[in-house]
Symmetry: C2
Subunit: 527 residues, 2 copies
């Protein structure tokens, strides 16, 4: 079932002469299939098909879009064993993780199906006319959200299912009514092709227009750049490194018609441990955080890469205990030799900084592609001065900063770059007395966590996944949860439009039975 | 009361040595006051004060922010005659327009006051914990909108009150909880200073933190550029030309931390007249459109600069009648010699294009700074090929395109740049038969109008003012109406946060009594 070809609309196509293979990091060997890089012609054809499909797809009823999204979920489940095995062979991740991530992917698709089937998400708003208003009559105005047009989605290395081919960005864009062109992640191109084939089956079974979806292979940056620069593309979704996301953002901003890029990028997810908490629960916290830092070999965007405390005996004990606990954990495999190469490189750079003390560093005798977990510590003053230490080291690495006092702690937080999350570990009695710390942290993050770990991103309406730059390129949107649909839509107003020609969401009789803002009151009533 | 100085926070300051004056276009002479350009130091001080004020201001209750917004409205009204006279002397606009625009400004401030006093606008969302969920417990998650931080607002030349100092952008930013730094428009710096003094009075009367507002004078591009590049600035609002808006967008995108720019820019607001309508109502339409094209000397962003019809005797009659009617209208004054200079220059450029036929051009013997209204016509094929004819001529100018057939009409619409509005003039019986025209137009605009004129932008929740680029830099937001607040806010999630330390909007007891999404159901109930 894996052919190595692209999907240009519903057709498999492999016109290029550049090929590449995926890699099994557990076996430390290449996988068998060859993937054909998309050509300029294929890229252009995919965008043209998407553009042609966008008007029909963009005006489909919520029920039809829900049918499509649910069919994708069904077809992914039907791939069964083959998908799980391919996933594991291309990532080195265990079967349990593959199945969990598949469940998350299915759950996201079905959540967006439910959202569009219900229909109120279009934020319908109606202001009826006042013909006898003086000095001038008031027109009838009605507003709702409509799709932006073709969206390019970049697959993420660390979520081959939930944030790749049929992941959160794609599900949200389909729900919005936008055709999607996926730039498949080269590290899991086989998994990507299988999921793409499930989407194409769902398109055919539910009679979606050809061009609603394409899947393009690429091992370099050319295909992605060409897609972002193509005038037919209207928005971009990306999950990955700051360098990659910023490059796409720059390309999109420099277009004749700039387009929105939502890039979810790096984060070191600061964890602030207040004095009473570390005094009372230091040992337990050390154990919990040893687990959180090494979870999924540290390959989560919410990995806690920075722990902040105030110098004390209790903090010293915590650092020792954390180091002791983390060394006990058996090393695990990273996704790809390139990922472990980057981990080692960035870690070496951090370790070479003056004033940094290595507290734990797993012995180098680990299996190929397995990551050695590491804990370091540094004085607050040194951390403040050296922003190299603020950079993400993607993997099972964390630095504990020992601040002089609360003022220095606050100053460090204020000087951090934007983050996906910020955690405060505290006794409830001490939290209220540290409002300045909370305020400073809130200013830097998209999600504030109390007495927990940042790893684990719940998919629910109240989840904000995104934050001030460089956590994401636009903190006003989320990449996770149903509200992520807002990235791909824009409002349109209809003025004095004949009722029978209005979209159903705006008709007087409210045939969809949705909640609407009618003359400033939220209601499901007719007009 | 006009000193020519800047407001840096609540203090008047004029440290610079560069000064300029405003101009009375009716009298064709400079006004008396000298305005002192803001210095680099003053710019930096304004941003620092705004940053320092932003945490306190950003967490104020809706009731307190409403009090502030209403106090601004009161203080603007208290400026009375002086404001109206200064406005007229700096714009050449008549007193009636000044009073109308003041009413609109007051209305906007009070609408945002009502919005934040009610409080549901923060889109509070609550998902309660499920501690016994398997395989892992579900945390409690709560989300709401919080302000981005200091916002820079650029005053608009054509709306000295409603889209300048205390205009829509400023009112929305204050409502969101963002401090505002206004880059005053040099053509109406006196009007700007008066309104700024009203804001400062309101700050003092309602005890807002110093730094919530600054007003900076500038006649060139330096002050604006320095503001957009300042790391303390978190978002930008602009109304004006494509060149100006794009330059600011580029600066903001190239920052180390890119920030959102909402620029509402140029538009030619296409009007499509279908055959039956022009046949039945051509003469009336000509009269209506002669009025709309010349309204406010054509200085509205929704001015109809492009009329599209299908070649017929009725269209010829319409063009002749439109030309006859528009010549009858007495010319009026433009805002400034620079504005009329640009009008003449852009019109000359259009008139010099091959294939363009001038149908009406008011005789050149008009008063200084008064604009000569002009109507031209061109074949559909010529218009398609020559995109110079698609450019906005800001002033009382419009071009009528005579298309060969419906297909050419559709093609022309599909090839237009993004627009604020698109109008369809049709008999209801023919509209349904032209779905492709409607679809193509919808794809290019932010607001669709049926049988009306695009001039006149109602301030109400269902108004979308913004559209695909270059109508605005981000079609996902509006510049008019209460939803324009969304430009200046971002969501934040609180995970497992203690109830008593949550913002009121997210507390279990719902002390604000607002509508919230609780476990996927919209309700005002307690949790």
């Amino acid at each position: 079932m894996i052919t190595g070809k692209n999907f240009i609309g519903n057709s498999r196509s492999g016109k290029g002469d550049k090929t590449y293979k995926t890699f099994n990091p557990q076996l430390n060997t290449e996988n068998t299939f060859s993937f054909v890089e998309a050509t300029e012609d294929e890229i252009d054809q995919a965008v043209r098909l998407a553009t042609a499909a966008s008007i029909e797809f963009g005006t489909l009823s919520g029920i039809k879009k829900a049918g499509f999204l649910n069919a994708i979920a069904d077809e992914i489940l039907a791939l069964d064993e083959l998908l799980i095995k391919t996933y594991c062979s291309e990532t080195g991740l265990p079967e349990g993780r593959a199945m969990g991530e598949r469940g998350r992917t299915i759950g996201q698709l079905r959540a967006f199906a439910a959202l569009v089937e219900e229909g109120s998400w279009v934020e319908a708003s109606i202001d009826t006319a006042i013909p006898d208003r003086t000095p001038i009559p008031k027109s009838d105005l009605r507003k709702m959200l409509i799709p932006l047009g073709p969206v390019v989605v970049f697959g993420a290395s660390n979520f081959p299912l939930a944030y790749s081919t049929a992941g959160g960005d794609t599900a949200a864009a389909f729900a919005a009514g936008c055709p999607v062109i996926v730039k498949s992640h080269p590290m899991h191109a086989g998994t990507g092709e299988l999921v793409a084939s499930a989407i194409v089956k769902a398109i055919q079974k539910t009679n979606m227009p050809n061009g609603v979806f394409s899947n393009l292979n690429s091992s370099g940056i050319e295909v992605g750049s060409a897609l972002v620069k193509h005038p037919g593309v209207k928005a971009v979704g990306f999950t990955g490194s700051i360098g990659g996301g910023r490059a796409l953002f720059n390309l999109a901003s420099q277009r004749e018609e700039p387009i929105p890029v939502f890039a979810e990028m790096g984060s070191i997810n600061p964890v602030v441990i207040l004095p009473d908490a570390i005094h009372k629960r230091g040992a337990d916290l050390a154990k919990t955080y040893a687990g959180s830092i090494t979870l999924g070999t540290g390959q989560f965007c919410t990995n806690p890469g920075l722990l902040l405390g105030i110098k004390s005996e209790a903090l010293t004990d915590f650092i020792n205990k954390l180091s002791e606990e983390i060394i006990k954990i058996e090393p695990t495999c990273m996704l790809h030799p390139n990922i472990i190469g980057a981990y080692e490189h960035k870690k070496d750079k951090a370790l070479s900084q003056k004033g940094l003390q290595v507290m734990a560093d797993k012995a180098p005798s680990v299996q190929a592609n397995y990551a050695r977990q590491t804990v370091t510590t540094v004085e607050g003053k040194t951390f403040l001065q050296n922003t190299t230490l603020h950079q993400e080291v993607f993997g099972p690495y964390s630095i504990v900063v020992q601040c002089e006092d609360v003022d220095q702690l606050e100053k460090i937080i204020r000087n951090l770059e934007g983050q996906l999350t910020g955690t405060i570990i505290a006794e409830e009695s001490e939290l209220a007395g540290h409002q300045k710390i909370v305020d400073a942290l809130q200013n830097r993050v998209g999600r504030l966590i109390y007495n927990g770990v940042p790893t684990g991103v719940e998919v629910c309406p109240s989840m904000q996944h995104g934050g001030p730059y460089p956590a994401s390129t636009d903190s006003r949107f989320t990449a996770v949860g149903i509200h992520s649909i807002k990235r791909w839509v824009r409002p349109i107003s209809y003025q004095d439009w004949p009722d029978k020609l209005l979209p159903d969401a705006l008709k007087n009789s409210n045939p969809l039975g949705i909640s609407r803002l009618v003359n400033n009151e939220q209601t499901k009533n007719n007009v």
